[in-house]
Amino acid sequence: MPASQPFPFLTVLVLLPAAGAAAVALVPSSRTARWVHEALGLAVATATLVLAVVVAVRFQVADAGYQMTSDHTWASSLGIRWFVGIDGISLFLVVMAAVLFPLAMLGARARTDKRSFVAWILLLEAACLGSFVSLDLILFFLFFELTLVPTYFIISGWGFARRGYAAIKFFVYTFAGSAFLLVGILAVAFIHQSQTHVLTFELPALARTHLSGTEGVLLFLAFTAAFAVKAPVFPFHTWSPDAYAEAPTAGAVLLAAVMAKLGTYGIIRFDLNLFPEATHTLAPLLLTLGVVGILYGAVVACVQRDLKRLVAYSSLAHIGFIVLGTFALTTQGLSGGVLQMVNHGLVIAALFLLIGWIYERRRTWQVGDLTGLQKSAPVLAGVFTLVMLASIGLPGLNGFVGEFLILSGTFIVHRWWAVAATIGVVLAALYLLWAYQQVFHGVATGANAKIRDLGWGERLVIAPLVILIVFLGVYPAPVLDRITPSVNRLVAHVEQVTHDRQPSVATGGTGNTAGSAAAAVPAGDPPVQVRPVSVHPTRGAR
């Protein structure tokens, strides 16, 4: 474990938005201008973004372990510590979250009670960032649970007609999932204590716990229950269309883009580290759920008449891809899964923002009521096209890179799952293009003809997302360079326990053993062409 940094970047990263939330809440609204709270909130969120960028810049590329750790006593009697750190897997999730929060705050502002709204969003940011950097399991659980409170208030406070129902459903579902997670965390810690006589919840220590086969499987299921609800993985998704649809735009953006990643991140960070054997045993189950999620989400999205629900179900399908890549347990698949978490976050955030803006103009999400928007709102249509194509997975845009890595990483070891998942890609093109046609093409009538195009403020909000979508599609190497070492380390950790080696081709040349990569080259099989792709996937695409 590296020594503590002189400046606790990550601690400040978490505490800054939390303090900001308190500050916004404490500034009285009666005596100040109406914009003060939003300005303060935006300043805090921007400062957090700057800090996140600093963290990304200071990140050591070749170091696969946890960096910038800081470790302090929090509740010593219970063995809980404030232990935070970052590695290639969490780095870009932190950056993505830090990018999306100010954009959501700016792009989907509340009309009433801005003070509370901004305060809750900042608290949610603190909780999300805290979850991504926590390396103590109870600390993670605290932040993981803390996300529920602000989200609950955002949905029930500023949501649409059935917000109360959606908020409670969301809270209770995820809370029930967490019940198993908490018991699982405690069980791992006490098993570890019985082996070492040390009560700790620190991930690196607990990852060395010896678990019997049954113990591992049960604990894996306990952990995965919570993460699968949060992600959501089919069939634990039933809360999500309601929550996404009833949440205000900012809430939907943050739920789908950031909070959903807590689930998939939790699987990668905790399931794979703590229960490598069980992960390997149960991988086919999770792969199947991932594929079912991809197909189910896509099919249901095809029949939605409501744009927001369509996007919600498409999100379910994309989460399925992330699960698929994760449980392929190959370097490519996992790297693709991690990258796709970031990609999906950016794309889904842009989609929810765009349809939120459409709603602001037309007061409806019904595809049947919208037509020909392209005429009067060309910029909106153009941006929507680009984001939609990224979501479909068009080469040159970021969605392609992640999906390609996932599919190729899965194909090597689980051929038929990858084949089935590919059908999902086709369906995604179907429902999105069909919806696009309905909404933007055709002859504009009535209110549709007089729709306002994107204003400068809106363009300013969507621009960073568009730039990132294109940049990651064209040149994902800097991101992959940082993700891959940590992913390799994780895959090696799993293989060490399961004694099951991934095919050498799956390491894509960035593998942990030079021999395995070299061995693959003389074989000359078609899959070898995959090798450069994992580093610079767009070369393969061109």
Partner: protein, 542 residues
């Protein structure tokens, strides 16, 4: 004193009395006697303000006395005094502190209540002090007879307090019900003492433990019957299922401040006694009683959480929630080790603060005559009185176990204590019941944050749910009818629908609520002091 007893000295050996060990009890009783004596000797009965002042001073003095006790225990260790009847150890000090805190908070709440309801006379505060002294006796009792003594002092005062609001028929009815069932349970308890005495030859707790450690009781029917009856007696007092039938009616009927007081103090006293009796005296026969406690805990957790779902009266709902909490505290008894006892103690303290604070809000929400506790009476509270609503929301979330509150740490500790002894299933049941419980806490929160006549209540009734589909508007433009969290009233323009009723919050009650919220949150964020206190309290537990 010496002169009076000189004649009898040859025959009667008075035990040495260590006054420090019963100082808080003496202070409480002294306060009660002072209030009653002054009232009966002066021409006019003591006013409410004066009796509140005496109550506050008494409670704080008891806290200070407990501080001295703690110092004594820390330097000289635990000791048994007064002919083995009373024990002064960390455990007893913790209970004294918990009860004293409940007394202080309740005195603050009761002041406003008594003035509003026009209940003159100092009896209320005097009885509360007496009742608290009974709970303190139970906490420091070292003999089954002394426990019974404490139990009766506690209960009889509570029966009268329940009937205190003579304006309400329910109050008297509840008192009668409580009295009959309470008397019955006391009888069962005494019978349990008798049988235990028959089986072990002593009522002194260490002597019982000694006897059971040195002798193998081959035909232990009498002992087990005694244990069972003791458990039934305690079960009534803590309202464990299936001995909970009285509690919803009594909680609903009793004056609201007394309901909170009862929930806190009766639980503290009874759980203190049950923990001490079963974990220290009957530790050797734990295999006999642990399965029974498991059954009680499962029933209590589930029935409490599930039945609460269907309650529309807030006080009844909180009664069932209190039953659910009792189930959690039973988990610590089930673990039957220092970790479990510390967890239960921590839970008792955290719950005391939360529940008195919650009922403080319920008290001020009531209409004149202590009526109007239907959940619908809370609709739109956040709009009218945002600070009050936020306080209640925080307290409810804490009861639900939201992170960074004492409620979470309390649940974490009791659950971890059963996981540590491999009670995985029980732990999962407990956490799932917490998720179910979250539903009804949030239901109340949603109602508070909903506008009058909308749908946010997930269990629509009385036609309240039908208007919702019609009101599908832009979320931000529904105006000020949904103001979660931190809004200050001036922030939003008034609308006619909610201009109905702002409740008056007396200053002292506001102080009590503020203290409860502050303790709940501050010790949730900086947990070490309170957790260490609870853990040290059991290290000295002998």
């Amino acid at each position: 004193m010496g002169a009076v007893t000189a004649a009898a000295a040859a025959h009667l050996q008075l035990p040495h009395i260590d006054y420090l060990s019963i100082l808080p009890v003496l202070i409480m009783m002294g306060g009660a006697v002072l209030v009653v004596a002054v009232s009966s000797m002066t021409r006019r009965a003591m006013g409410t303000g004066a009796s509140t002042a005496v109550s506050l001073v008494t409670g704080i003095a008891a806290l200070v006395a407990a501080l001295f006790q703690w110092d004594s225990v820390a330097t000289h260790g635990a000791k048994v005094t007064i002919a083995g009847a009373v024990v002064l150890d960390g455990f007893s000090v913790f209970i004294q502190v918990t009860v004293a805190v409940a007394v202080v908070l309740t005195a603050l709440v009761a002041d406003g209540y008594l003035k509003r309801e026009g209940i003159d006379g100092p009896e209320f505060q005097a009885l509360a002090l007496l009742s608290a002294s009974g709970a303190m006796v139970m906490g420091s009792a070292n003999d089954l007879i002394v426990i019974f003594l404490g139990l009766e002092i506690l209960s009889i005062a509570l029966y009268v307090l329940t009937a205190m609001n003579f304006k309400r028929a329910e109050s008297g009815e509840a008192a009668l019900k409580y009295f009959v069932l309470g008397g019955f349970s006391s009888a069962v308890f005494v019978y349990g003492i008798a049988l235990t005495y028959g089986a072990t030859g002593s009522t002194n707790l260490p002597e019982i433990a000694d006897y059971l450690a040195r002798n193998v009781v081959t035909s232990n029917g009498v002992l087990l019957a005694g244990l069972a009856l003791l458990l039934v007696g305690f079960g009534f007092k803590v309202a464990a299922v299936p001995f909970h039938m009285w509690s919803p009616d009594v909680y609903q009927g009793a004056p609201s401040p007394i309901t909170g007081f009862m929930a806190a103090v009766a639980k503290a006293g009874a759980f203190a006694a049950v923990l001490r009796v079963f974990v220290s005296s009957f530790a050797t026969v734990r295999t006999d009683w642990q399965p029974v406690v498991t059954g009680l805990a499962v029933l209590t957790l589930l029935v409490g959480a599930i039945v609460a779902l269907s309650q529309r009266d807030v006080k009844r709902m909180l009664a069932y929630s209190s039953i659910n909490h009792a189930g959690f505290i039973l988990l610590g008894l089930e673990a039957a080790d220092p970790r479990g006892v510390a967890a239960s103690l921590y839970y008792l303290f955290a719950y005391t603060v939360m529940v008195v604070g919650t009922f403080a809000v319920v008290t001020v929400m009531a209409k004149d005559g202590d009526n109007g506790h239907d959940i619908e009476d809370y609709r739109g509270l956040a709009r009218r009185q945002p600070v009050l609503a936020l306080s209640l929301a925080v307290l409810l979330l804490a009861q639900a176990g939201a992170p960074f509150t004492t409620g979470f740490l309390a649940k974490l500790q009791v659950v971890s204590s059963v996981v540590a002894v491999h009670g995985y299933v029980l732990a999962v049941i407990a956490m799932v019941s917490a998720a179910v419980a979250a539903f009804f806490y949030l239901r109340l929160a949603v109602v508070m944050y909903s506008p009058t006549g909308s749908v946010a209540d997930p269990l629509p009734s009385d036609g309240a749910g039908d208007t919702a589909e019609v009101t599908e508007l832009l979320p931000f433009e529904r105006g000020s009818d949904q103001v979660p969290g931190l809004a200050v009233l001036t922030d939003a323009p008034p609308i006619e629908a909610v201009a109905e009723r702002r409740v008056a919050v007396p200053r002292l009650t506001a102080l009590a609520i503020a203290v409860s919220v502050a303790v709940t949150v501050v010790f949730g964020v900086v947990p070490a002091p309170l957790i260490d206190f609870a853990h040290k309290a059991t290290l000295l537990f002998h």
